[in-house]
Amino acid sequence: MKYAFSLLAVTALILIAGLGSQVPGMQYLFGVVIPYLAIMLFIGGFVYRIMQWAKSPVPFSIPTTCGQGASLDFIKQDKLDCPTKPSEVVARMFLEIFAFRSLFRNTKSELHNGPKITYESSKWLWLFALLFHYSFLVIVIRHMRLFIDPVPFWLSAIESVDSMLQIGAPTLYLSSVALVGGILLLFGRRLVSRHVRYISLSNDYFPLALILAIAVTGILMRYFLRTDIDIVNIKKLAMGLVTFSPVIGAKIGSIFYIHLFLVSTLLVYFPFSKLMHMGGVFMSPTRNMANNSRAVRHINPWNDPEIKPHSYAGYEDEFREFMVDAGIPVEKELTAVKDEA
């Protein structure tokens, strides 16, 4: 039912934008006001969340160690999975961010007759996630052609590679197909796999449903519902937005406003949801710390500076008489201490 709720919420958003943008005069709200609010909330919320995380102390050195740590010279250290130097941490983070290495290590536990439990490597999540995230990135970059002028060479190059199959006109983008495929696989995974379905919440389904709706409305607008979809008018509006001189000029089809409203919703939703893993992946102490707690002391920021370190020698000095009285063995006897004095 949780996925049904998410689908329903997205349907409601589509209806709001589809009907709302048809009311005369409301195009300014859907085309200018809401997108501005959304991008401001996105940047502000994103920075706020990161600052909140940056203010949270890391009391312990807690890197996840997934390989052999630095030890004796003849034991080979797994430098990526148990980094001790900043350069190794950077390499680990780089692969985590660009190749989703921790998803690649995913294992699936299964109970067989016996009873026997097996841990099988499961690469599906990694594969779907890679497909989804990279196609989404390409799509975001591609959209820049509507916001900038002149369009630089590299942007046109990305676009021509993305449409290299030259199917139809306007040409089909490979990233559109990959994005829809990726979302459907990620969504399907949550429905089909019983373990994942059990732990899936509305806030897992909703972003997937929302991004799916964004992709589908975009594809419909580009290839099918082309009534009043003149790219020149759309670029005029987009250029107006980024040059702070927005104008609603010619009539633009409602599918455009639906697409734009869903993107605005995504932007507003982003900082306050699980989608913040975009910033969070950089902030995760289990990934971005070096496993060097035996070489470098990790100071807990919570520590009260008034509380000084108390060594055992100091402790014994303080309580020696009582310890001797109670028959607790001490390192320096009472007489030895007196002799020194």
Binding site: I43, V47, I50, E159, T171, F244
Partner: protein, 132 residues
Amino acid sequence: MYNKGTIIPGLIIFVLFVTFPIWFNGLKAAPAPKPELPPGGEKKCIESVEYMRANHMQVLNQWRDNVLRDDKRTVVEVEGKKYRKGLQQACMQCHSNKEKFCDNCHTFAAVTPYCWDCHLTPKEAASKEGTR
């Protein structure tokens, strides 16, 4: 706040990325394109202006399939004048200047249609004739 040295530059890079179109354009909106009307003075196309603006690429694609794949070289008639289906045969009979008509919007919207991989613009065609 902890790790200021890395988090603040990271946030600045993030904001720069998100606001890329703002500082790239420098707050100057590009002038809207004004495609040149047919120099011959023709006023009517095969469909309305709005339809042609939104759908011309699909029409051309359809024509391409009709002519080259299905061998349906039907004739298009506009105001009594007959044209053979095709970009050069029909469209460019009136919209004769590719640079001032097609490219005008295509450059603005950063669209690079692959029509011209095979087709010649009237200008190019004329120069080819001359060299032959």
